[in-house]
């Protein structure tokens, strides 16, 4: 009875409930802290979205869980790190134009390099084990270990300080609330990427084929499209998205370290489990949930910060075993 009455209101109830839930931390802190944490949480959510959407896309189309995704993230951060080092003049220049120029050059470099790594992983590792989840997990896990070690060989095993373009440092002061600049920039970038992804998936022919591939790869192949080519492209695109996420996260935390991929891979897993594998919108919602709760709890009860996300994941798995926005399969 209750269920049938509530059903038409389900979505609104859920949204309302979520808003109330996310206002709750206000009880434990003052408004300024709350706003700062919210912005940081949204920014973190957007970066997690970049990582998780790649993971989710790859799974949705190819039915592959890519454990090497976290290391693509770390590679993105390190490529950007090298780019910033090489063109340090533009990073420290007191010019908005040059700062953004170097930022976009770094993004392009990260996407190209990590996209190539993605192509290599797909062609040489994943392609041979399509259809067997166990072997996919094992193979990509091995790929993760090897690529992490390559980072250690190429860039050294220690933590490094990530250079931050000048414009991105500092903050704005709005009505006595201090708003850091970079989180706002990363939120905007995340939203842009979300828009672009939706546009590509919904409005272009490639997107149409990819969406059809999520539904039924055999049929797409029967229609005369080389689905394996699309597999490679989507894998590379997913790796590229992870690279952008890594770059954004490295600037946010002002450091890069070889194992950074592992920690965020766990976050990305939680995000896609919450959001539903294969769905871009699900990744966005899941990422925001994880980012916000992580930041609130990290402020209130530091040791439990990761635990709360696992708790949310568990609750959502209990209610909806397929995640919030399950895709085709």
């Amino acid at each position: 009875m209750v269920q049938t009455t509530l059903k038409p209101w389900g979505l609104k109830l859920a949204i309302g409930g979520a808003i109330v839930l996310y206002l709750l931390p206000l009880l434990g802190m003052d408004l300024k802290t709350y706003l700062t944490l919210t912005i940081a949480g949204l920014a973190m959510g957007m970066m997690l979205f970049l990582v998780a959407s790649g993971l989710s896309l790859i799974f949705g189309l190819m039915d592959v869980i890519n454990f090497a995704h976290g290391v693509c993230f770390a590679w993105g951060a390190y490529v950007a790190f090298s780019t910033f080092r090489a063109l340090n003049k533009w990073v420290t220049a007191d010019s908005v134009f040059y700062n953004f120029l170097i930022f976009f050059i770094a993004i392009a470099a990260a996407i190209v390099v990590v996209g190539l790594i993605g192509v290599i992983i797909e062609r040489f590792l994943v392609r041979r084990v399509y259809g067997s989840h166990l072997f996919q997990i094992l193979i990509t896990f091995g790929g993760m270990v090897v690529l992490t070690e390559f980072i250690r060989i190429l860039w050294g095993p220690n933590d490094e300080v990530m250079p931050v373009p000048r414009t991105f440092r500092g903050n704005w002061d709005i009505f006595d609330i201090i708003v850091l600049r970079y989180p706002i920039i990363s939120i905007v970038i995340g939203l842009l990427v979300y828009g672009a992804l939706q546009l590509v998936l919904k409005k272009t022919k490639v997107g149409k084929i990819v969406r059809a591939g999520v539904e039924d790869p055999d049929m797409v192949q029967a229609m005369g499209h080389n689905i394996f080519l699309f597999f490679t492209v989507v894998f590379a695109a997913g790796a590229g998205l992870a690279a952008v996420g890594g770059l954004a996260m490295a600037i946010f935390n002002v450091q890069v370290y070889p194992d950074m991929g592992d920690a965020y891979l766990i976050f990305a897993f939680i995000v896609v489990i919450i959001g539903g594998l294969g769905s871009i919108t699900g990744s966005l919602v899941g990422a925001l949930i994880v980012g916000l709760s992580y930041n609130y709890v990290a402020y209130l009860l530091p040791p439990l910060a990761v635990g709360v996300n696992i708790l949310i994941m568990v609750i959502i798995l209990l209610i909806r075993p397929t995640g919030l926005f399950p895709a085709g399969k």
Binding site: L138, G142, I266, I273
Partner: protein, 365 residues
């Protein structure tokens, strides 16, 4: 007396043959080797190696029950190993004095906690698609590592817990000489661990050959079919997970008894999980004995790779890139792992079994 069925005849024949086959001699040879290892390998380094091979062989076998016999990939297996280790270490190191009673309670608490967590994990994550299970267990294992290193007041943080053993397990204990061997606490601990590991291993062999174990193999091969025949696969999977994890937790306690400390890196870390995975793949999934082969291979490689590095440095002093590569033990590991999965997916024991089966076929034709 009725006529014996062909199956019964076959079994009788097998039973008569079992004490004459090469496998039997190999198994008893291994048993005797581990039994007399303290006499043969008096130096601490080699004895340490032998015991670690033993512990990891049984740990890998317990992981094999999940992966090779039930078809569940769990990244949280080492977490249970760590729970056992931490529980024992805390009871006799941090929150109590070294005594037999505390040691016993350490194991008891470990078993209790592990049963609770294993049940919880399987109830939560077996509901979802199989592929989520790996992700969920990885997340939980990562959480356990974070807890162990962040709650430093409770677990000792990154440094972990150091403790000494009670009574006859104490390093300084000495019972006198027996056939030229000093019966020190080390040797006593070795035999204690050896006996318990052996019992656990035999228990697992019994487990997989029981009707319960057969159902699990049916689930691994074809889950919808097992369900259609009428087995509640969920319950059988839960039993399998709990059993495997309980064995792992007891082994964790034993491991800590041997090394004398517990910290996140040594009993909980992802690298150990990776080791166990590689051991199970190298040895052969679904063979149990593969654990021994895989553990022996990797542990020996672990111990002697530094020598190989020094050797490479001596003969090629200028190849800096090669040195950088060799120093990254995990890199070689990862590449090996990928190659084994590609070209050798059945592992050592699995391939040998295949070969033996083929020869038998050829002979019978």
């Amino acid at each position: 007396m009725t006529e014996p069925t062909p199956v019964q005849l076959f079994r009788q024949e097998e039973k008569q043959k079992q004490f004459r086959s090469g496998v039997f001699f190999l198994k008893s040879g291994l048993l005797i080797f581990f039994l007399v290892a303290p006499f043969l390998l008096p130096s601490f380094k080699t004895l340490d190696l032998a015991l670690k091979i033993l512990i990891f062989a049984v740990l890998v076998a317990s992981f094999d029950i999940l992966l090779g016999y039930t078809g569940i990939l769990s990244f949280g297996h080492v977490m249970f190993f760590g729970i056992g280790g931490y529980s024992v270490a805390m009871l006799i190191g941090k929150y109590g004095n070294p005594s037999y009673l505390n040691l016993f309670f350490g194991f008891l608490i470990a078993v209790a906690i592990t049963s609770a967590i294993a049940l919880l994990v399987s109830f939560l994550s077996l509901r979802v698609r199989a592929i989520f299970f790996a992700m969920v267990t990885l997340a939980i294992a990562e959480f356990a590592i974070i807890l162990a290193s962040k709650l430093s007041g409770f677990t000792g943080g990154e440094d972990g817990i150091i403790m000494s053993m009670p009574g006859i397990f104490k390093v300084s204990y000495n019972m006198g000489s027996f056939i030229g061997l000093e019966m020190t606490g080390r040797v006593m601990t070795y035999y204690f661990i050896f006996i318990i590991s052996l019992v656990l291993f035999l228990l697992m062999v019994r487990f997989i050959h029981s009707p319960l174990g057969r159902v699990m193999q049916a689930i691994r091969d074809n889950e919808p079919r097992a369900e259609a025949i009428g087995y509640k696969t969920f319950i059988f999977k839960t039993i399998s997970i709990c059993f495997g994890c309980l064995v792992a937790t007891i082994l964790g306690g034993l491991y800590v008894m041997w090394v004398g400390y517990a910290n996140p890196e040594s009993v909980l870390g992802i690298p150990i999980m990776l080791d166990v995975l590689l051991m199970v793949i190298v040895g052969g999934m679904g063979t149990l004995y593969g654990g021994l082969a895989g553990a022996a291979f990797l542990m020996i490689a672990h111990t002697f790779l530094p020598d190989l590095q020094n050797f490479a440095k001596d003969i090629l002093p200028n190849a800096h890139f090669l040195h950088a590569v060799l120093e990254r033990w995990l890199l070689i590991f990862g590449i090996l792992f990928i190659l084994v999965v590609f070209f050798f997916p059945k592992g050592i024991i699995g391939s040998v079994q295949d070969y033996a089966a083929r020869r038998k076929m050829a002979r019978s034709i």
